[in-house]
Amino acid sequence: MNLGTRKILDRSFSAVGIGSIAVMGIALLIVIVPIVHNGLGAVFFTETIEHRNMLYNEFGKGDKAELDKENAAAEAYRKEAYSLLARFETEMETMEPERQQEFRSKYGPVQTALRHLIGPLPGDEEAILTRYRYGQTRWEKAEEKLHELLYEAKWDYSDPNAMAKEYFVSRAAEFEGTSLVKLFPYVENNLDKMLRPRFTIYWGFLTDSSVDSHIFGGIWPEIQGTFFLAVGAMLFAFPLGVIAAIYFTEYARDGFFTSMLRSANSTLAGVPSIVFGLFGLAFFINTLKVSESKSVLAGSLTLAIMILPTIIRAAEEAILSVPKTYKEASLSLGSTKWNTIMTVILPAALPGILTGGVISLGRAAGETAPIIFTAAVSVGSAIGIADVLSSPTPALSWNIYNLASEHEAAAEIRHVQYGMVLALVSIVLLLNLSAILLRARISKKLKG
């Protein structure tokens, strides 16, 4: 081969490697950026008066006097819309039956769309579900709903070979010649006066419990559940893991038994996470009966088994990286082996052990599969510390799945889902980041 070609090959070889790392970095950005951007939207957004009403009625937050003043101002503009509706209803009465029938079927969706936009209409019964008691609480959602009010979505099935296409028909055109025509431009032009949008920072998203299965409110029960589960797992796994690591590094002699234990450790690290869930269900709940059914305790125990190998490995590495001279100095001063381990080796290895612990804590917080059958429920309020032994809990990871895949109004509450994902990802990444910083400090210290 030509020298030039060899050089080109060499360069492109490097380029492929750098490219791969760049692809990983870009993939990380592509995943993280929309999650951060949309997730922040759960806290920082433009709220409507409906949101302020909801906060006052459900959580008792806000200033009653000011809210009443605002409601009165909004009501002034809403009244005009209501009167347009009323005028159209009386107009319908006078129509001949066939035409009336036609308009009646078209009028229902208009009412529904308006209810979605600005809340219950006058004369409606008090709704049982909280979600129907308020209009749109977020301004960008209100704009979407406005589109639904102004245009009717229809599907075009004319081409049997292609997928059906969606197209929109103006409702104003459908009601041409009736008094309702005026409603659509009126709502379009005065929507901001009816809903009074205002930018807000809703910290309650992190500290409030949810209302009507996450249609409104915050994610505190999930954050708390995740905290209980992860910390519970650490309480079991951390001491066990560190002691096992001490045994492996200081006491174990090379032999069949030790190598078997090591194999068991790596086997445990490789078990698929869903199998841990099955085991937790079959062993902790059905056999040991640590609780009646799902509970935080059963979930924590399952997670503890899952993170145990990681903790053992990290602790082993940390203990092995303590310079041998430390140990020798301590022993030569007459200290016993156990004394040396407790007073010299462990303190020196502690930052490294903690690094592994922090990473495992993040992993326990982020796992979903092991807690599906052992600890997680979809809806529920925050549980007290006394209930951890017997009751299940909502958790961030499980509720992200549940809200995104199984919630009946999944598309309506994307902001809650994004907010939850952001909360979980930032918990895990912050833990990892602190571990990385901790490790950087250790390696600096060990270098002298």
Partner: protein, 405 residues
């Protein structure tokens, strides 16, 4: 005064120095130092007890592994006893809710294999080249910043990846699938085709002695091949552009996401394997006039091949055992795609079936529907056990070979 040095184990550490009665002191700290015969006995006993406690706690891991196998198997066996092995492994009819239920898991096993294979095909080339880049190409200062990126990729919870796949990636594939495939094809294939053309035209003209004629020949070949390659790229690209993806939740989506989840494992384990190949091999190769690429491909990679194989096995296991992403974004339809390699169809995997069906299975009385999920778990467990064993043996052997040199 009599001083006794006792040596224990392989170390030459001093465990206790026993002195005669008259210099004996009774204080906490020096208790380890100067003790009576009775206390020595007690210490010995305490040491035994302590060590066996440590051993007991360390063997906890082995006990847990045994328990996992036992309890998953205990709930899996009733299924096989009642229905045998044939239906599970050969039938594609998965109707667990029917009466009597049909439990053919072949399509589900196939779905698992399909997404695992897809993610492996994507992750292994990328992971190995990234590992090479980290261990041999990048200078240390850059490497410091590249490693946290990989660690962060590993740290992101699987449910967050699943959410991304379901809410962002799937709609994108559904609406922009054709153009995305076309762009991916251009970006991936164009550089490699260009390289191949350069190498081929160089090899074909290698026998021509006259330098200027050779130059001319290779330039002409470059232009001819280049035009042909461009046409090929454009043709495949336009075919891909025409593809309409019916549903964004399909095997392709899941394979791509899973490959990024398997990447960190593959990168870090193969980087360790590459680092384990000593400097001497590399320097020898450089001394013989190889370029860096030739050194890595012909010398370092063969020496590290077994370690890289272990990395691949671990990466494959990560993809096979992943639950949330496949549950949320694979479409969960238990049939073998038509044709069998069609990655644009929805599939269903073992892990997603376990997670999804357990809620409906009767947990208390233990119906066949409940036990079949444990059978799937046992199947996964056995596969992961043997893969782990194999990869571990490989790593140990490589370490032995490399240290023996």
């Amino acid at each position: 005064m009599k001083t006794e040095h006792r040596c224990s184990g392989n170390d030459t550490e001093i465990n206790s120095i026993v002195m005669s009665e008259d210099v004996r002191k009774e204080s906490g700290r020096s208790g380890a130092f100067v003790v009576s015969a009775g206390k020595r006995k007690f210490q010995k006993f305490a040491k035994r007890v302590g060590e066996s406690t440590l051993l007991l706690i360390a063997s906890f891991v082995a006990i847990v592994v045994f328990f996992i196998f036992y309890f998953v198997a205990v709930d899996a066996v009733p299924y096989f006893q009642a229905r045998g092995f044939a239906e599970f492994f050969t039938s594609t009819d998965w109707y667990p809710a029917d009466e009597p239920g049909k439990f053919g898991a072949l399509a589900i096993i196939y779905g698992s294999l399909m997404v695992t294979l897809g993610s492996t095909l994507l992750a292994v080339p990328m992971g190995v080249s990234a590992a090479i880049c980290l261990s041999d190409i990048l200078p240390f200062s850059v490497r410091q910043y590249a490693k946290p990126v990989i660690e962060m990729l590993a740290a992101i919870p699987s449910v967050a990846f699943g959410f991304f796949a379901l809410v962002i990636f799937a709609p994108l594939l559904q609406t922009q699938g054709g153009p995305i495939l076309m762009w991916a094809w251009w970006v991936l294939a164009a550089p490699f085709l260009l390289l191949a053309i350069i190498v081929i035209s160089d090899l074909l003209t290698a026998n021509i002695e006259d330098q200027s004629r050779r130059q001319l020949m290779s330039t002409t070949l470059l232009v001819v091949f280049g035009a042909a390659a461009l046409g090929f790229l454009y043709w495949v690209g336009s075919v891909l552009r025409q593809i309409e993806i019916m549903s964004g939740t399909n095997a392709l989506n899941v394979s791509i996401i899973l490959s990024f989840m398997a990447l960190p494992t593959i990168v870090s384990v193969s980087e360790d394997a590459l680092q384990a190949v000593g400097r001497e091999l590399r320097e020898g190769s450089y001394a013989l006039g190889s370029t860096r690429a030739e050194t890595i491909v012909r010398t370092v990679l063969p020496a590290a091949s077994s370690g890289i194989l272990a990395a691949v096995i671990l990466g494959v296991m990560r993809a096979l055992g992943e639950t949330m992403v496949v549950w949320m974004a694979s479409g969960n339809s238990s049939h073998i795609p038509e044709p069998w390699f069609n990655y644009l169809e929805a599939v269903r995997t073992l892990t997603a079936t376990i997670a999804g069906d357990m809620g409906e299975a009767d947990q208390v009385t233990g119906s066949a529907r409940y036990h079949v999920l444990f059978a799937m778990g046992l199947f996964l467990l056995v596969i992961s056990f043997f893969s782990n064993l194999v990869s571990e043996r490989i790593v140990v052997r490589q370490r032995k070979i490399l240290s023996g040199q």
